[in-house]
């Protein structure tokens, strides 16, 4: 069971209270019309999915509702970093 300390409400949250929200740092084009189909569909669909350390978005869903970033290992589930959303991992 994943447990994360939400960097906003500072509560330890178990996974039932959290929501996983995909890989972090997937950039949305500032002007979507200006990018190629390839760039746009990369943004939509392509994921790195590494076996190892992953940068992820999580939300304190049943708690304070804030999104934050987590660096987590996909095998051990060890957590290296939990940071507010504006932090660049």
């Amino acid at each position: 069971m994943i447990i994360l300390e939400c960097p906003y409400c500072h509560e330890q949250r178990v996974e039932d209270e959290l929501r996983y929200g995909g890989e972090a740092n997937i950039q949305r084009a500032t002007d979507p019309t200006a990018v190629s189909d390839e760039v746009w569909t990369d943004y939509l669909f392509m994921r790195t999915n590494p076996k190892g350390w992953r940068d992820e978005q999580w939300c304190c869903e049943a708690g304070c509702g804030q999104w934050f970033k987590v660096r987590r290992h996909s095998v051990s589930h060890a957590i290296e970093t939990v940071a507010r959303f504006d932090v660049v991992l």
Partner: protein
């Protein structure tokens, strides 16, 4: 013409009334339909508007996560980094909302009517903490949620705003449509507890 108000569990509206059908030897439950609520949300960083809010509402607004503060039978509860729940008398809800919303015509702060969104239950008695702990961890701190702290957390699978109010006394707010479920769950859990703890 005047429509009638009705409390979720049929208690007298505007009063703290014990749920008489709730059976437990160690826990008592009150429906707190006397509590009026506002949801105060900020469109900007909360720190920028807190002092103005405090002035207009004449109440302290907690800046610390997990805090709630009380003054003259009113209460402000930290909900998210940009919102609070305010408790007041049910009859004061409209006026208080008006005061706040007048202060912020640009809507950087907005007070939404919220008295009916949550159904507030007060739980008290020796078995209360154990009863809630059947529905979730409530807190992962060793000594549990400290008195004077509030936390939105899952209890029995529904998000509940949980206040450890006084010694052995809790306030729990659950979304209204799920309140019947939540009360039924509480009752079933209390019944199981008394069955198991007869001697064990």
């Amino acid at each position: 013409m005047m429509l009638n108000a009705c409390a979720e569990f049929g208690t007298v509206i505007g009063q703290a009334e014990q749920l008489s059908h709730f059976v437990s030897t160690t826990v008592k439950v009150w429906e707190r339909s006397d509590i009026g609520s506002l949801l105060v949300s900020c469109a900007v960083d909360a720190a920028k508007v807190a002092s103005r809010l405090e002035q207009v509402a004449r109440l302290p607004f907690p800046q610390q996560a997990g805090e709630f503060l009380e003054l003259d039978a009113r209460r402000t509860i930290w909900l998210t980094p940009r919102s609070w729940i305010m408790h007041c008398g049910l009859e004061d809800e409209l006026q208080l909302a008006g005061q706040i919303n007048c202060e912020f015509p640009d809507k950087v702060v907005h007070a939404s009517l919220f008295s009916d969104y949550l159904c507030w239950l007060e739980l008290a008695g020796a078995g209360t903490a154990a009863l809630l702990a059947e529905g979730g961890f409530i807190s992962l701190e060793k000594h549990g949620l400290p008195i004077g702290h509030a936390k939105r957390t899952l209890v029995a699978g529904v998000a509940a705003i949980t206040l450890h109010w006084r010694v052995g006394r809790w306030l729990v707010g659950v979304e209204r449509s799920r309140a019947v479920y939540f009360a039924a769950w509480l009752q079933a859990a209390a019944a199981r507890a008394s069955k198991l703890e007869l001697t064990g």
